[in-house]
């Protein structure tokens, strides 16, 4: 169920699916909201907070894929209320569905990557990542020319100028595998692959066992060892339930191809931030897309291809 995105310019998207008005708004307007566990009745005064009711609603919240539209609407409203309480900011949390006929793919030109790490910091800001720790979805490593083994990669390079002589740079993030080992590993099905190819996490369902992190061959999944700290004034208020809405301690998160942006036709934040044009993103099912041109015409490779995970993140060279 989607919401009208009045903030975003959708004029160019001729094939954008018709945004239906949220049933939640309708119900809220009527003042009658049915709740899963009978805990969120009477949320007319939603913004006033109802912390106990929200806590109960949170506790009894079902798995995302099993919730009815009403329950999802309640969950979204709870998240928005919680953000208001915690950050003093009003946010919108949607669950924009996948676009029809779209499977996302990403290509990165490592001849062009200069190691600026603009992608890393743009992602942190766009996706409300906790600051002060190690929570970064993208990791750029510096490799020696002549070898590309990750054993000798430098993750913590900190030069005055990049690119350095004799070095290459390779950013890595969640590969959104077609056969994801993390999805198999999760004991509670808190992570799965959406129809548009994005591997998502239901942060309200994750029990924090971290088996998915063990299973991931790309170190792409990250954990909130404590409550994530996001400065309220830097909070991005446009959020998606399966993406960048504020998370909590004890759950796993990872790159989700900026699901709140890409399902609206916008570029992921890392692609937008990259000044060299090294990053290309698009629909693998569209034969005229840039990503398809790259896959069909350039020299491409994927990391750890021999593991059979079928990543949807390719690297290519000039």
């Amino acid at each position: 169920m989607s919401r009208q995105r009045t903030k975003k310019d959708m004029a160019n998207d001729t094939d954008q699916s018709v945004a239906s008005y949220s049933r939640r708004k309708f119900l809220k307007g009527l003042g009658t909201v049915t709740a899963a566990a009978g805990c969120t009745a009477g949320t007319k005064s939603a913004w006033a907070g109802a912390t106990l009711k929200d806590a109960m609603g949170d506790f009894f919240q079902d798995h995302y894929q099993r919730m009815t539209p009403e329950e999802i609407a309640d969950a979204l409203a709870r998240i928005e209320r919680k953000a208001l309480r915690k950050f003093g900011r009003e946010i919108t949390c949607t669950n924009t569905p996948p676009l029809a006929g779209v499977v996302f793919g990403y290509a990165l030109n490592i001849s062009k990557c200069k190691g600026y790490r603009d992608c890393v910091s743009a992602c942190v800001r766009e996706n409300n990542l906790g600051r002060g720790g190690q929570m970064e979805y993208i990791r750029v490593v510096e490799l020696e020319k002549g070898r590309r083994d990750l054993e000798n990669a430098d993750h913590y390079y900190d030069h005055d100028l990049v690119p350095q002589e004799g070095k290459e740079y390779m950013p890595m993030q969640c590969m959104q595998c077609e056969d994801p080992p993390c999805v198999k590993a999760c004991p509670v099905d808190a992570t799965w692959m959406e129809p548009d190819g994005i591997v998502v996490v239901d942060y309200n369902w994750c029990i924090g066992c971290r088996y998915c992190m063990t299973a991931c061959p790309y170190s792409a999944r990250h954990f909130n060892w404590s409550e994530p700290l996001v400065p309220p004034d830097e909070l991005n208020p446009d959020t998606h339930y399966l993406g960048n809405r504020p998370r909590m301690k004890g759950v796993v998160e990872k790159c989700h191809f900026c699901i709140h942006r890409t399902r609206q036709g916008l570029q992921p934040a890392c692609q937008e931030a990259c000044p060299t044009g090294a990053r290309v993103f698009g629909n693998l099912l569209d034969p005229d897309s840039e990503i398809r041109y790259i896959l069909e015409n350039k020299t491409v490779f994927r990391l750890k291809e021999e593991l059979g995970t079928e990543p949807k993140f390719w690297y290519y060279t000039d």
């Binding site: 506790f59 798995h63 099993r66 190690q134 990791r139 490593v141 083994d149 990750l150 054993e151 000798n152 990669a153 993750h155 890595m172 080992p181 198999k184 590993a185 999760c186 004991p187 509670v188 099905d189 808190a190 369902w205 994750c206 029990i207 924090g208 066992c209 971290r210 088996y211 992190m213 063990t214 299973a215 991931c216 061959p217 790309y218 170190s219 990250h222 954990f223 909130n224 060892w225 404590s226 409550e227 301690k249 004890g250 759950v251 750890k304 593991l307 059979g308």
Partner: protein
Amino acid sequence: MSLLRFMGDGVRSMMRGGPLYHGWLLLLVALIAVGGWYYALQLREGLIITGMSDQVSWGFYIANFTFMVGIAAAAVLLVIPAYLFHREDVKQVVLLGEAMAVAAVITAILLVVVDLARPDRFWHIIPFIGRFNLPLSMLAWDVVVLYGYLFLNLLIPFYILYRHYRGLDAPVRSYFPFVVLTIFWAISIHTVTAFLFSANSGRPFWHTALLGPRFIASAFVSGPALIIISLLLIRNFWNYSVKPAVIDMLAVILMFALYINLFFIGAELFTDFYNETSHASSIRYLYFGLQGYDGLVPWIWTAMGLNLVAVFMLSFERLRANRVTLVLSCMLCFTGIWIEKGMGFVIPGFIPTPLGEIFEFVPTFPEVMITVACWAVGAMIFTLLARAAVAVEQGEIRAVVESQQ
């Protein structure tokens, strides 16, 4: 109802003992209290109080969990001789082995629970109410087999002891199918735990077919070592009859298992180091250090030394017969396996990370104390269950015979 009386008498018997016994229980309670205090801290602040990181996302808790499941599985080494080979002397102590299995399984489950960052969401893993990823998730399978094993090892002893409490026989044929099930289940709990690790194709240190056999072999070292020590203590303190032949049998099994385990380790070392690929980075880190990081090197070599000395001592019948040297050997190899299968197994799987980064792990004090508390819970459960079992078997507690029985 006599069932209630049985349980009441059982619990009462658990409280009876000398000052040493009560001192032991008090010590365990103290350890549990300290750990519990730190666990409350962990619930408040999150797993950040531990030494784990994104790079090493499983640490001391899971290391001890892995070891504990092995102890639990080893009860089968008493079950098989008792019921399949009809060894009456072993049958006398098999209940104690099952008590140890129960204690070990509960400790293992407890260690997983403390490792969970969101125990408030425990209901997500209950089948049907939550969402259980069977048959794909090995962790889901682990939950199933551990709880099943717990149930089996409570069911059979409970039945036997209840019958004995009422002065009745517990004919084997009435529960023999469960015994057979327990035997296979014991192997399965530790195989599933091994599969938990070996399923990860992105972690070459664990991604080996040999892991299941290695786990069973090392479990059959650490388990009997602990059983031998426990049986000797029980014989000594509670005058419970433990035939020397039982101890001898366990010691021989231990020795063979230790030889097999060392052979497996040798096979791994050869395979990894003969033509060394990047798949061997973790084992190089463990045994020799990698790029200057060598935190686990002294530990693993100590473990090797302990195991080699133990297997040497166990090879001599005279040293096995001498209970002092036997207990020493058991303590040595128990510690050696704990190192080699705990920290020496779980941690190197994360170093280096799949992206080649080396980030070492050191458990923090709260993390260690919470683990110690889990061990203390296990020790207490074993102590109490063994105490009650001994009370029934020695005739200390009996149901009052009712006229209408």
